[in-house]
């Protein structure tokens, strides 16, 4: 009878190899590289934490410094490719294969490395898919994670930026993997136990905070009049008629404008208490005025946001916090919340085609998917009803039998017809297709599929794709809000007129909105300083956002 316990034995052998470098579980920062050389084997699957916000930067540098004759050919499985070191590993041959979900700051370099054959791509995932595969076929052998503090038993406090860590550790620790954490400092007692010590083999005392960037802060001073107009159209044309209470906002200036219009325009429309009360959302500073004005009951967050820590503590009625008072975020659960417990996703994108497929990929940038496809998809496994969900289902299938007619999640794409560098939002063919051909991918990297999109909002109006009866109407509805782009100018005027009469396209004047009224005076806060005032001085914006 052969034993099927090889993995446990291997884990114990690896741990033993690292013990000489540790005092108990604690390893000094200067020994980090030697620890990794002792514990990692060539060809291992390694999760180098690589979250959307926080980065295990000390462990990244330590891994980059290993002897590539000892450690090579690693298969990196991590959410985010964010630091230059994450890609330097491939340049040095330490890493060979990659499965990931998001690469924002490295999107150009990763594209050129993929084309240049420097990286063998497994697949680009959404966050939730990658987390799911950690448990089935991409389980890490080694997890290199980041936490704020640890005690001598290896209990970890991950704090507001808990993010992916519990998910990564769950998969790694319970499948006989090795977990190594970098922490800002070792303490006698952690404020709360986010990761129990028996899941952690080694703790490296970094002596400095892990890398984390503010990604969800949008300066109200940068919000333009067209963005205010699209926000008004979204609130009047979608939030109000569907009565959307539970929702997720993708990050961007359009949604920031919506957040800042709730206490003013939303109030004027009498919508408080009727819409936008429960969010799957990172702690956006631009939501502070709505929270302070009593719009928001509850928010669950994927991660945190630099500068919001004290505000969150003081608003524990709204946010999820631990017994210590600080935020507890969790990306996996928040993604699930957005998928199944929210009735609407609204966010922006870079390109939309004539079927409504959208993508943020261009031929020179591969940003990955992040969580948007999870948010921006109809959750066909959903069973509990809600008013907006049922209403959308009726619009999609007016002749269907009511008892067998599932509802639909509202999936809204919002943006100006021309984006940065005056690039058109609407295109005949997505760049994602050209990229797929170039890289020989099985599928073009589409962020949100046209058959999931229910509405498109631009400064030209709101297109309700649920009410379109066929592909041709759908195409014309899209052209009808595509403004002066080539796609928009090729519209068929008569079809557009009919669609407008049916309410498939609604222009500002159809919703009682005068574009000339969309002015910055409508924003509840017009500067970062205003947000600080709204928060009673609790919000502490990072230096780059200050102008005082």
């Amino acid at each position: 009878m052969t034993t099927r316990q090889h993995a446990r034995a291997t884990r114990d052998t690896r741990t033993a190899a690292g013990i000489p470098l540790a005092k108990g579980k604690i390893v000094e920062a200067r020994d980090a590289t030697r620890l990794l050389e002792a514990v990692i084997r060539p060809g291992d699957r390694v999760c180098l934490e690589g979250d959307n916000q926080k980065q295990a930067d000390l462990l990244s540098s330590a891994l980059l410094a290993v002897d590539s004759r000892k450690i090579s050919g690693l298969h990196m499985v991590q959410s985010g490719i964010v630091l230059p070191e994450h890609l330097d590993l491939f340049d040095r041959g330490i890493a060979k294969k990659l499965d990931f979900a998001y690469s924002g700051p490295q999107s150009t370099r990763i594209a050129s490395m993929l084309f240049g054959g420097k990286i063998e791509l497994g697949a680009v995932h959404t966050y939730l898919e990658l987390f799911a595969r950690y448990f089935i076929d991409l389980t890490p052998n080694v997890a290199l994670i980041a936490a704020e503090t640890a005690d001598r038993d290896g209990n970890l406090y991950t704090g507001p930026n808990t993010e992916d860590t519990p998910t990564v550790v769950e998969a790694t620790a319970f499948k006989d993997g090795i977990v190594i954490a970098q922490v800002n400092e070792i303490v006698d007692k952690v404020p709360r136990v986010d990761i129990p010590g028996d899941r952690v083999q080694f703790v490296v005392a970094a002596g400095r905070p892990f890398f984390v960037e503010p990604l969800f802060t949008r300066d109200p001073a940068s919000i333009t009049e067209p963005q205010i107009l699209t926000a008004m159209l979204a609130i009047k044309g979608i939030y109000e008629p569907y009565g959307v209470q539970r929702l997720n906002h993708g990050i961007g200036f359009n949604t920031a404008a919506i957040e800042l219009l709730l206490p003013t325009y939303g109030e004027r429309l009498g919508l408080k208490g009727k819409v936008a009360s429960r969010f799957a959302l990172n702690p956006h500073p631009t939501l502070i005025p709505a929270i302070e004005s009593g719009w928001v009951e509850q928010i669950h967050s994927f991660g945190s946001e630099v500068g919001m820590e004290d505000y969150i503590r003081a608003r524990s009625d709204v946010f999820f916090t631990g017994p210590d008072g600080s935020l507890r975020s969790n990306r996996a659960f928040c993604q699930v919340a957005g998928l199944y417990a929210c009735d609407m996703f609204i966010g922006s994108t870079l390109q939309i085609d004539l079927q409504g497929n959208s993508s943020t990929v261009t031929t020179s940038r591969i940003a990955g998917f992040g969580g948007a496809p999870n948010m921006g998809a109809d959750a066909r496994g959903r069973r509990h009803p809600s008013a907006p969900w049922l209403q959308a289902g009726r619009e999609a299938d007016p002749d269907g039998s009511a008892l067998l007619r599932r509802g639909r999640k509202l999936v809204v794409q919002i943006g100006e017809t021309f984006g940065d560098a005056n690039a058109p939002l609407f295109v005949e063919k997505l760049d994602a297709l050209a990229l797929a051909e170039k890289l020989n991918l099985a599928l073009a990297p589409v962020m949100i599929y046209g058959d999931d999109v229910t509405h498109i909002v631009t400064e030209e109006g709101v297109a309700n794709l649920l009410l379109c009866r066929d592909a041709d109407e759908r195409e014309q509805a899209i052209r009808g809000v595509a403004g002066y782009t080539d796609v928009g100018r090729a519209r068929d005027a008569r079809t557009i007129q009919r669609l407008r009469e049916r309410g498939v396209i609604r222009r500002p004047e159809d919703l009682g909105i005068d574009p000339l009224d969309a002015d910055r005076g409508m924003l509840a806060a017009r500067s970062i300083k205003d947000l600080v005032h709204w928060s009673g001085g609790l919000y502490a914006p990072p230096s780059q956002f200050r102008n005082w």
């Binding site: 333009t224 009049e225 067209p226 100006e416 017809t417 021309f418 005056n422 400064e459 030209e460 403004g483 002066y484 100018r489 574009p515 000339l516």
Partner: protein, 105 residues
């Protein structure tokens, strides 16, 4: 820089009695529009100096829609454009038309 010029006939004269109005600022993504009531009642002229060459067809479509919607007869519009998007252009032209429709003080 590119210079563009569009002449239109309108069914009606623009309302109001203001002789002149100016709106907007020349900056990246923005534009200024100077409106002067100096033409015959059913004449409309738009002269554009733009920092983003090659968008003549888009300007033509924006201007045509603006004239059709507002019928600004008698007005000469002069535009200095810093590379604004079409929706911002439409907005400024509409703002200029609204200002001109006020009565002169």
């Amino acid at each position: 820089m590119e210079d563009l010029s569009f002449r239109h006939s309108t069914p009606r004269r623009a309302g109001g009695s203001r002789p002149m109005a100016i709106i907007g600022v020349v900056a990246s993504g923005n534009l200024e529009v100077l409106a002067e009531r100096v033409l015959a009642d059913t004449d409309c002229l738009l002269e554009i100096k733009t920092a983003a060459p090659g968008f003549g067809e888009v300007w033509k479509a924006v201007v045509t829609d603006f004239v059709d919607r507002h019928s600004p007869g008698g007005i000469r519009f002069s535009v200095n454009d810093g590379g604004a998007r079409p929706d911002v252009v439409s907005l400024r032209l509409a703002q200029a038309a609204r200002l001109m429709s006020e009565d002169d003080r």
